[in-house]
């Protein structure tokens, strides 16, 4: 028997030890922050030294509670023992509930860690049996949105109000989940103090407190949801029990209240009439470009201020950049904001201040700067254009081409000459020429003047050559010389008609020279006989010969006899005709 029992116990213990289980079971793995979670650590064999895990990120709202279940069914014993906890999450996120340990029959068993996802608060299904139900009926957190259908970048306000019914009280509250406005630019507006006001909620009288105000600027179009705010509120609820005076006892309940998930439908800004330079400004603005001085000396600094002021999404757009002449040195702007946020949105002034340094004298225009915004009142785009400014730089350094290159900011190398003198005034005199004049180049005159001189070369060479040949011909030269003299004296004679002496002198010389050239006579051999002989040899007819001789004699005679002008004229005519005749007969 003994070994039998021993065997049995051996088997049983073997059986049992194989069956030991220690598990962690959660009521749900995914829950909203306003929900609670039950975790059971269950074992099928009794153990000691239970160690719960650290429930960080959770608040233990109930437990640990122990339960033991021991039953015999059809001779089979089933045993279970469990430790239960009720947990409320502290924040959103994914958490792991660590291992619990227990010592069973000398061995240490551990549970498997459990992953829990805590989401944003979810609408709790109503459960009339829930003890918190009364509290949930009596206390509400409401998010009021000023405009459910705003434009992109239009300010909207979310006001969180905690409504409390008249017969309940709130002792304390704590925010457990702050909504994240991921698609919005948001700013909380501090609510100072708790100001209990009277209001109605679904037709019933309630008291309410404004907990928080937030200004939102939607940054995306389409359906955007605003996450709810969750509060852990300690509520005093009247219970069914009453005291001897008939007043109900107040029972205190911890409740998590959440506002409902709200969805906004954000409208995009209209595309029609959208200016090119629109940078996203929505609201009502005034725009200015100012300088702190209009006239200054070169190398002095000037402040150029671009300002937008008014209501709207001031912090959410960039101011337009003025385009300045490249000859001005411009530094990066200093941005300043004087914006206060109220429930109606942002209000104030933003400005960009540029430091501008003109290096050289001259006048520099600052072109108009346009700023566009979407006007929510008229639902149209509006463009404000600043005035064109002109900066007069009066005195400048001259001939400072070197220093310009050392200036730190403008990296663009200017093609502009830097060493300028004073601006030259108008010119007083001019010579006009027709605008549509033919160009001189390629004109006929041009080619003539260009090539003409070259044609001149052979021409001049020809003349020079010809003259050289003639210079070599000595007798010919002599001949030409005497002929020329004869002509000269004859014309002298003609001039001195009436003056007897001079006339006959000239006439005689003319005749002599003529003969010299024609008969190649020398002055020494000059007498009438020789002339007669020579002319006779040349077959000159006798009348001409006689005429010539008689002329010569009359020249000689004339010196001693008085003669009238008529005679002289006759002699001149005679000389001319004889020379003419001789010319014909000699050649």
């Amino acid at each position: 028997m003994k070994p039998h029992i021993l065997l049995l116990t051996f088997f049983m213990s073997g059986f049992l030890s194989a069956q030991v289980s220690f598990e962690a079971k959660v009521s749900k793995k995914r829950l909203g922050i306003n929900e609670r979670l039950r975790i059971d650590f269950t074992m099928n064999t009794d153990g000691d030294n239970f160690e719960p895990p650290s429930f960080k990120n959770f608040t233990v709202v109930g437990g640990p509670s122990q339960s033991i279940n021991n039953s015999w069914i059809n001779g089979t014993r089933s045993f279970s023992k469990s430790y239960s906890y009720f947990l409320a999450p502290k924040k959103r996120g994914e958490f792991t509930i660590g291992q619990a340990t227990i010592e069973i029959e000398g061995k240490i068993y551990k549970t498997v860690p459990v992953k829990i996802t805590v989401t944003a608060a979810i609408d709790k299904p109503k459960d009339p049996n829930d003890p918190n139900y009364i509290a949930s009926e009596k206390i509400h957190l409401v998010a009021e949105i000023s405009n459910g259908n705003p434009y992109l970048n239009e300010a909207i306000t979310v006001v969180y109000k905690l409504y409390v019914a008249q017969n309940t009280g709130v002792r304390n509250w704590r925010e457990i989940d702050n909504p994240r406005y991921s698609d919005f630019w948001s700013q909380n507006i501090d609510v100072k103090g708790i100001n209990i006001q009277q209001g109605t909620y679904k037709g019933e009288d309630y008291r309410y407190v404004v907990l928080r105000k937030t200004v939102l600027y939607p940054q995306k179009t389409g359906k955007l949801s605003i996450e709810p705010l969750s509060l852990d509120v300690t509520v005093e609820v009247p219970s069914n029990r009453r005291d001897v005076f008939g007043r109900s006892f107040m029972s205190t309940v911890n409740r998590t209240v959440s506002s409902k998930n709200r969805t906004l439908d954000v409208k995009p800004l209209p595309e029609s009439g959208k200016p090119e330079n629109f940078s996203g400004a929505v609201g009502d603005f005034d725009f200015k470009v100012t300088t702190n001085k209009q006239t200054l000396n070169a190398t002095e600094a000037l402040e150029l201020k671009v300002t937008a002021s008014g209501k709207g999404n001031l912090k959410l757009f960039k101011l337009p950049r003025p385009i300045l002449p490249s000859a001005l040195e411009v530094y990066e702007p200093e941005h300043s904001e004087k914006v206060s946020t109220r429930t109606s949105g942002m209000q104030g002034t933003i400005s960009d201040t540029y430091t501008v340094i003109p290096n050289f004298q001259g006048s520099y225009p600052i072109p108009k700067v346009s700023f566009s915004y979407f006007d929510l009142k008229t639902k149209r785009y509006r463009t404000v254009t600043s005035k064109r400014l002109i900066i007069e730089v009066s005195e400048g350094p001259k001939n400072t081409s070197g220093s310009n290159k050392n200036t730190p900011v403008t990296p663009t190398e200017n093609i502009i000459p830097t060493n300028l003198n004073a601006f030259s005034s108008f010119k007083t005199s001019t010579n006009f020429q027709p605008i549509t004049s033919e160009p001189f180049f390629n004109s006929q005159l041009f080619w003539l003047l260009l090539l003409g001189p070259f044609l001149l070369i052979p021409f001049i060479i020809f003349i020079v050559k010809h003259r050289a040949i003639r210079a070599l011909d000595v007798s010919g030269n002599k001949l030409r010389k005497t002929t020329r003299l004869a002509r000269k004296y004859l014309s002298d004679a003609k001039k001195s008609l009436g003056q007897k002496e001079q006339f006959y002198n000239a006439l005689e010389r003319a005749l002599h020279n003529y003969l010299k050239s024609k008969l190649r006579l020398e002055t020494s051999e000059f007498n009438k006989e020789k002339i007669e002989e020579l002319l006779g040899n040349k077959n000159i007819n006798s009348t001409t010969l006689e005429g010539f001789i008689s002329l010569l004699t009359s020249c000689e005679l004339a010196r001693y006899t008085p003669l009238s002008t008529v005679d002289m004229q006759n002699d001149y005519k005679k000389a001319a005709s004889i020379i003419n005749d001789l010319d014909k007969q000699l050649n």
Binding site: P417, F432, Q433, F440, L450, P453, V464
Partner: protein
């Protein structure tokens, strides 16, 4: 001759108006001379000064450039053009050139085509007279002197002739223009749909290198960038 003196009178009147600060009226007078088909560097210069005083960058630079075409080396024009260029917004970096081509361009720009033509003719005459001097002189030293100097002049003549033709072809092929509108987007293709490759502002000098139908001009900047703009935004020099 009557017309001439009349224009000169108008010029003087315009100068008086300018001097008294009536720039708009002065511009009207100067323009009337231009309408009479007469021009001069001084006229363009005064006109450009008027526009400068009225802070109209585009016309101011346009007329300074016009004046510079007639008188390429006038220091007053260059000086005031510098003032006008300082008002412009675009700072375009020039493509760096080799020293030699820089020198060549500078030389070419120093005279107009007709200026070069006149120099050519003067050199031709000089050469011919020196050559004849060589031909006609008898002494050895004189002959040598004339020969050397005439051959130098001939070489110079050929160089100047080359410059003349180069300048002429350059003038024919480059059509500078000035941007007249405050701001213009330069398109990558000659239509309004294409994207804007860069923007230009008033007073910037561009070169017209091509055209397409009535409206579009292809331009090139001195930094080598090209693009298309509408004809109305530019004014060709």
């Amino acid at each position: 001759m009557v017309g001439f003196s009349q224009n000169e009178q108008t010029f003087e009147q315009a100068n008086d108006l300018y001097n008294s600060g009536y720039y708009k009226e002065a511009i009207d007078r100067y323009d009337s001379i231009l309408e009479a088909d007469q021009h001069s560097a001084e006229l363009y210069f005064n006109l450009a000064n008027c526009y400068y005083k009225l802070n109209e960058i585009g016309p101011s630079i346009f007329y300074y450039e016009k004046a510079l075409k007639l008188a390429p080396n006038d220091s007053d024009i260059l000086n005031n053009l510098g003032y006008a260029q300082k008002m412009t917004i675009d700072a375009i970096q020039e493509v760096p050139e080799v020293e030699v081509s820089k020198l060549l361009n500078k030389t070419l720009d120093s005279l107009s085509v007709d200026g070069w033509a006149v120099r050519c003719i003067a050199l031709a005459f000089l050469f011919v007279s020196l050559f004849l001097g060589y031909y006609l002189s008898y002494s050895e030293t004189k002959k040598r002197l004339f020969f050397v100097s005439s051959s130098v002049v001939l070489i110079v003549l050929f160089i100047v002739l080359g410059l003349l033709f180069k300048k002429n072809s350059l003038d024919r092929n480059t059509h500078p223009a000035i941007v007249f509108v405050k701001e213009t987007g330069v398109k990558s293709e000659p239509n309004l749909r294409s994207e804007t490759s860069f923007t230009l502002h008033e007073g910037t000098k561009v070169l017209i290198i091509d055209e397409y139908n009535e409206d579009w001009l292809k331009i090139k900047l001195i930094n080598g960038e090209t693009g298309w703009v509408t004809r109305s935004e530019l004014k060709a020099l």
